[in-house]
């Protein structure tokens, strides 16, 4: 995409990253470089190591091998250059916090002591709320908002440190199709306007088609990165998975069939199959 500066320094460097959890190798050899302002979708089926990779980038897990750098420096917890929206970040309906209070934690929630209200503080929080179009419901109790609204608040929370890299772990799960598309568009806009590199985890590639610059595809502990057309292909994914994989394109959508199962391109087969198959196969009028 035109806003990319391919010559810029890498925002995120993954060099032969390997990690095992509980004796089981999760990532074997993951190499990728993310440029400033780039929107990358991190795709893979359940258990492919997507969340593990994010935790490594956040400094919450130490890789067994390889090099991980953000802006040319080794990763560590509390890096304000990295914004993070965790997986299944559903807010308990009875949480006695306004959306605004939740977002404010992103500004200085890690510091000891009481927050001292000030005009500058309020202005920064308002700015983040405006960036995600959440000002209108910022004073409502956060737990009472819809999934899409909560997701926006969490993105605003992650933006408050002015990160150069934004990590979003499955922000589209639990969202209906329309909300999911709205969140994708919003994240893309934020990345573009602020020059933030976005790494968005999803198990379904379809909501990201046409929005992301590149795809980082995880399978069998390895990764392939590149434009969708160059990575999400039968031959490339077959090599990645280590067995035959077919990629079908139906009405502008992508279906990945690996070893007789439908993965990546759509649902992981564990649990969502019944829900996703009929929807995907009964497409009426292309993408909404």
């Amino acid at each position: 995409m035109s806003h990319l500066s391919p010559s810029g320094p890498a925002v995120l460097t993954l060099d032969r990253v390997a990690i095992a959890l509980g004796g089981r190798p999760v990532l074997r050899d993951v190499t990728a470089e993310l440029r400033p302002g780039e929107f990358v979708g991190l795709i893979g089926s359940n258990g492919a190591g997507k969340t593990t990779l994010l935790r490594v980038i956040l400094g919450l897990l130490r890789p067994d091998g390889g090099r991980v750098e953000v802006l040319g420096r080794a990763v560590g917890r509390g890096n304000r250059a990295v914004g993070y929206v965790p997986q299944k970040a559903q807010i308990d309906p009875d949480t006695p916090l306004r959306g605004r209070d939740l977002v404010a934690l992103g500004l200085d929630g890690e510091r000891w002591g009481l927050p001292l209200p000030s005009r500058a503080r309020r202005a920064r929080i308002d700015e983040a709320l405006r960036a995600v179009d959440a000002l209108s419901y910022a004073d409502a109790p956060a737990g009472r908002l819809s999934g899409g609204e909560q997701q926006r608040l969490l993105i605003a929370q992650a933006l408050l440190t002015n990160p150069r890299l934004l990590l979003l772990d499955e922000p589209l799960s639990n969202l209906d199709l329309r909300s999911a598309n709205a969140v994708v568009q919003l994240v893309a806009r934020i990345g573009r306007e602020r020059g933030v590199t976005v790494l968005l985890v999803a198990h379904d590639i379809n909501p990201l088609l046409g929005v992301m610059d590149r795809v980082l595809y995880l399978a069998a502990g390895r990764a392939a990165i590149g434009p969708v057309d160059e990575v999400v292909r039968g031959d490339v994914l077959s090599r990645l998975y280590g067995y035959r994989v077919d990629v079908l394109r139906v009405q502008g959508r992508v279906l990945v069939v690996a070893g007789g199962e439908l993965v990546g391109g759509d649902a992981d087969m564990c649990g969502h199959a019944e829900e996703q198959w009929p929807e995907r196969l009964a497409l009426g009028g292309g993408r909404p």
């Binding site: 919450l60 993070y84 009875d94 006695p96 916090l97 209070d101 200085d108 929630g109 009472r144 209906d176």
Partner: protein, 303 residues
């Protein structure tokens, strides 16, 4: 003020025991309410109650050794809280750890009470409180302990709120989540040991949970919520003390015998909680912003 004077029991303000009770009660109520806000937020109500019950064994043990019950309460509450936190990392684990420690401590408490009590009403005082008989010499240390609890809570405030609401993000941002949790539960233990002096071991949960849970229905701002909880706690405690004092003059069900303070406080705490639930300005938005509960697997077929 004359109508108020007529309503209040005679000689209320001349009685030093009463003024001392009002002071100690207010301190315990404020500290409990502030701690209780986070106890409710973190889903620690059971642990909070268990910690005081475990404190009973300490209180009884201190009496057995001829010390003031407060010191035994404090020691055992803190040990219990640390144990509950260190033994159980996950909620389910913590639940089991709490239950096991609780049963053991209650058994020890029963033993100490049986062996160690010299007066018939000592176990009763430990369990249900006796704010009017509170040792006035203990008021300064109680106030000091209360102030220390609030100071620690103020220091912990932001990281504690952060890891109570979004632990993963807090951890990623460098908050020592486990340490903050441990420091909080130990502070809570000190606070409830103090409240146990006012309403007794069994009922200190009323001051811990009641006002905070009520406040959460009334406001969605954390700072304001803690202030509202503290105000409710003080009002419930003071009203309970005044009613208990007044009850010495009541002739029903028996004359010449006052009703216990803790009875009034718990009834008031429950009443306020139910009222707050009923009013709940905070919950009005429920439904307005919820997506439909039933997921439609064929959105495009209907489009």
């Amino acid at each position: 003020m004359t109508w108020l004077g007529a309503l209040l029991p005679p000689d209320l303000w001349q009685n030093e025991q009463v003024t001392n009770a009002l002071l100690v009660g207010a301190v315990a109520a404020v500290v409990s309410a502030a701690l209780g806000y986070f106890v409710v937020l973190r889903g620690l109500s059971f642990a909070g109650h268990a910690v005081t019950d475990i404190g009973l064994a300490g209180g009884a043990g201190a009496v057995l050794l001829g010390l003031n019950a407060l010191w035994g309460l404090l020691t055992f509450c803190v040990l219990a809280a640390a144990g509950v936190d260190l033994l159980g990392e996950r909620a389910r684990e913590r639940d089991v750890a709490t239950g096991v420690i609780l049963a053991l401590a209650l058994g020890c408490g029963a033993f100490f009470l049986y062996i160690g009590t010299r007066f018939v009403n000592e176990p009763y005082i430990l369990l249900f409180g006796s704010i009017f008989e509170a040792d006035a010499g203990l008021t300064p240390p109680l106030a000091l302990i209360g102030a220390a609890c609030l100071a620690v809570l103020a220091v912990l405030y932001r990281p504690l709120l952060f890891c109570s609401v979004s632990p993963e993000t807090a951890a990623a941002r460098g908050v020592p989540v486990r340490l903050v949790g441990l420091l909080f539960i130990v502070t809570m233990a000190v606070g409830v040991a103090e409240a146990a002096q006012v309403v007794g071991v069994l009922l200190s949960t009323a001051l811990l949970i009641g006002p905070a849970a009520s406040a959460m229905y009334l406001t969605a701002r954390p700072g304001r919520g803690i202030a509202v909880a503290a105000a409710l706690g003080v009002m419930e405690t003071w009203a309970g003390i005044v009613l208990a004092y007044d009850s010495y003059y009541w002739t029903w069900p028996v004359s010449g015998k006052g009703w216990p303070v803790s009875f009034f406080i718990t009834v008031l705490a429950l009443g306020v909680y139910l009222l707050a639930r009923l009013v709940r300005p905070v919950g009005r938005r429920r439904g307005e912003h919820r997506p439909p509960a039933v997921h439609n697997p064929f959105p495009e077929a209907l489009a």
